[in-house]
């Protein structure tokens, strides 16, 4: 009895702590393999350097073009995903009847189940040529196309989490608002959306994370030029696709190899900061509303 209880307890403890082990392992490897790159170039000139020519002689390892590419593509993607994702959530929650809801929700969730490689080649084969023709560009594989495709990919994440957040707002808030003479839109804007606010901001952050971490799609549709973009139609090379594209050809243990790890490290830090900001805002917000004390 006692022994079996101990075994249970320890088994679950090992399971629960395995994530911690994985996390530490990954972070450790990122640091061990990434830091040597900084000792070659220096942290600042690595991050703010404007040229990424890892295979020229002498090589140059400045990742500003890659960071700005990730930034432009992610911001662009969220400009699509936030209004459409939250708009759909509001529609499904507030306007759609039972029938429409039963059909819309699964469709949007199905969109989220499509593997990213499919979005990637769809973007490359269909959307990029279309963008090229439409805007009269030399190539359709550019930041705009990347943002468009990634935005579509983030819609299901944003929509379904935002819809969940809206649907857990107690009915009683709605009734109180109507009883005070509010109409449907006032109730939505002034009561329901604020009450669902922390869930909606979670939806946005998870959308951003999905977009920032996405690799296959951007590799296929953004064109791959490691320059700081001067317009949304410039071909770009975001951080993730740089790692994916170059890891195979970089000599293990060489500076290029370490630099790719260092990119991973920078990406990790950026995502971490984003998550922390979101967590902080979410907590302050919930505290202010008194939703959990």
């Amino acid at each position: 009895m006692k022994i079996s209880e101990k075994i249970y307890k320890n088994t679950f403890m090992v399971v629960a702590f395995s994530s911690l082990v994985f996390l530490t392992g990954i972070v450790l490897v990122l640091f061990i393999e990434g830091l040597p790159a900084f000792s070659v170039t220096g942290v600042l000139s690595f991050i703010f350097g404007k040229s990424w020519y890892p295979t020229s002689t002498p090589p140059e390892f400045g990742i500003m073009p890659l960071i700005s590419a990730s930034f432009v593509v992610s911001v662009g993607a969220m400009l699509f995903a936030i209004p459409i994702g939250i708009g759909s959530a509001l529609y499904i929650h507030e306007i759609a009847g039972e029938k429409q809801k039963m059909f819309l929700k699964p469709i949007i969730e199905l969109l989220g189940a499509i593997p990213s490689i499919i979005f990637g080649f769809f973007g490359m084969v269909i959307v990029a040529p279309l963008v090229q023709k439409l805007f009269n560009l030399s190539t359709g594989q550019c930041a705009f196309t990347g943002a468009l495709i990634l935005g579509v990919m983030a819609i299901p994440v944003v929509c379904s989490i935002a819809e969940d957040a809206l649907s857990v707002v107690p009915r009683s808030f709605r009734e109180a608002s109507f009883a005070l003479g509010a109409n449907r839109w006032q109730t939505l804007w002034k009561v329901i959306i604020p009450a669902a606010g922390s869930g909606i901001s979670t939806a946005i952050v998870l959308g951003i994370s999905r977009v920032m971490g996405e690799t296959m799609t951007v590799l296929l549709v953004t064109g791959g030029a490691a320059q700081i973009p001067n317009s949304i139609f410039s071909p770009v090379r975001p951080m993730t696709s740089t790692i994916a594209a170059e890891m195979g050809e970089a000599a293990v243990g060489g500076t290029h190899f370490h630099a790719l790890f260092a990119i991973g490290l920078v990406l990790f830090v950026i995502t971490l900061i984003l998550n922390m900001i979101a967590e902080y805002i979410g907590r302050k917000y919930r505290l202010k509303l008194g939703l959990d004390v």
Partner: protein, 257 residues
């Protein structure tokens, strides 16, 4: 009371039938509700008390596939008429719910909400109304120093009094209470009851309660409902001491419900 000529009818139910889909929930209700009195609706659970109450501010409009027949007159105007502005009606007829339902906003924001959605921009006017209503609801002294705290941090009883105060801000004439003390402890219940008695000098009050002592304590008139019918209506004292209908008597003596 036949000999009391001072009483004016504020709300008059005229042969009201109500249906949830095909299910009939109210059968030809006729009732007069007097101004500046407290009218209690009692009866076993599911007999249609809330349904009737929610007709008076047309909250049942939110129930799809529901249907109403008959007339409900508020100051001699049928509130089911097409030209009635529901928003106006709901400002005139406030409602306090079974479970306290303050918004997840500050105490002040909760109080100001009714004016905000009305488009009132005058901060001084809003302040005045908010403070005045909090005082009327006997909540001012307890919370005057923390108007910016979240309303959800108040105790259950305070939350319910805040909900009462919140509906006073838009200056209703009639206030509907749907079992306002159902989730409260005896002390908070007491405070709400005192408040209701206090408020009837300004408002016409209708309260649903499953607590007969409560009905006896706060109301001037009582209506006993059973299975969608209004069985008996009269001055509370009479109805409780000499009920005319056998079912009323059985309910009051705890034989059912």
């Amino acid at each position: 009371m036949d000999n009391n000529l001072k009483e004016t009818v504020r709300v008059k139910a005229d042969n009201i039938n109500f249906f949830y889909g095909s299910k009939k929930a109210l059968n030809g209700i006729n009732m007069d509700i007097y101004a500046n009195k407290v009218t209690a609706l009692i009866g076993p659970s599911g007999c249609g008390k809330s349904t009737f109450l929610r007709l008076i501010n047309r909250m049942n409009d939110l129930v799809t596939s529901s249907r109403v027949e008959g007339q409900l007159l508020l100051d001699n105007k049928n509130i089911f008429d097409k030209d009635v502005d529901v928003v106006e009606l709901r400002r005139k007829v406030g409602m306090v719910f079974q479970k306290p339902n303050p918004f997840p906003k500050s105490i002040y924001e909760n109080m100001a909400y009714g004016l905000e959605i009305k488009g009132v921009k005058d901060k001084k006017f809003t302040d005045e109304k908010v403070f005045e209503s909090l005082k009327k609801a006997a909540l001012w002294d307890e919370i005057k120093d923390r108007l910016n705290d979240s309303a959800l941090r108040l105790s259950g009883g305070q939350q319910q009094r805040l909900c009462i105060a919140r509906c006073l801000v838009v200056e209703p004439e009639v206030i509907l209470f749907d079992e306002p003390c159902a989730s409260l402890d005896p002390i908070s219940t007491r405070k709400i009851e005192e408040l209701i008695i206090e408020l009837k000098q300004f408002y016409t009050i209708i309260i649903v309660t499953h607590n007969m002592q409560q009905a006896a304590r706060v109301s001037d008139y009582t209506a006993f409902m059973y299975l969608g019918d209004l069985i008996e209506f009269g001055p509370t004292e009479k109805l409780f001491t000499v009920p005319k209908d056998k079912r009323t008597e059985e309910y009051l003596t705890g034989k059912f419900g």
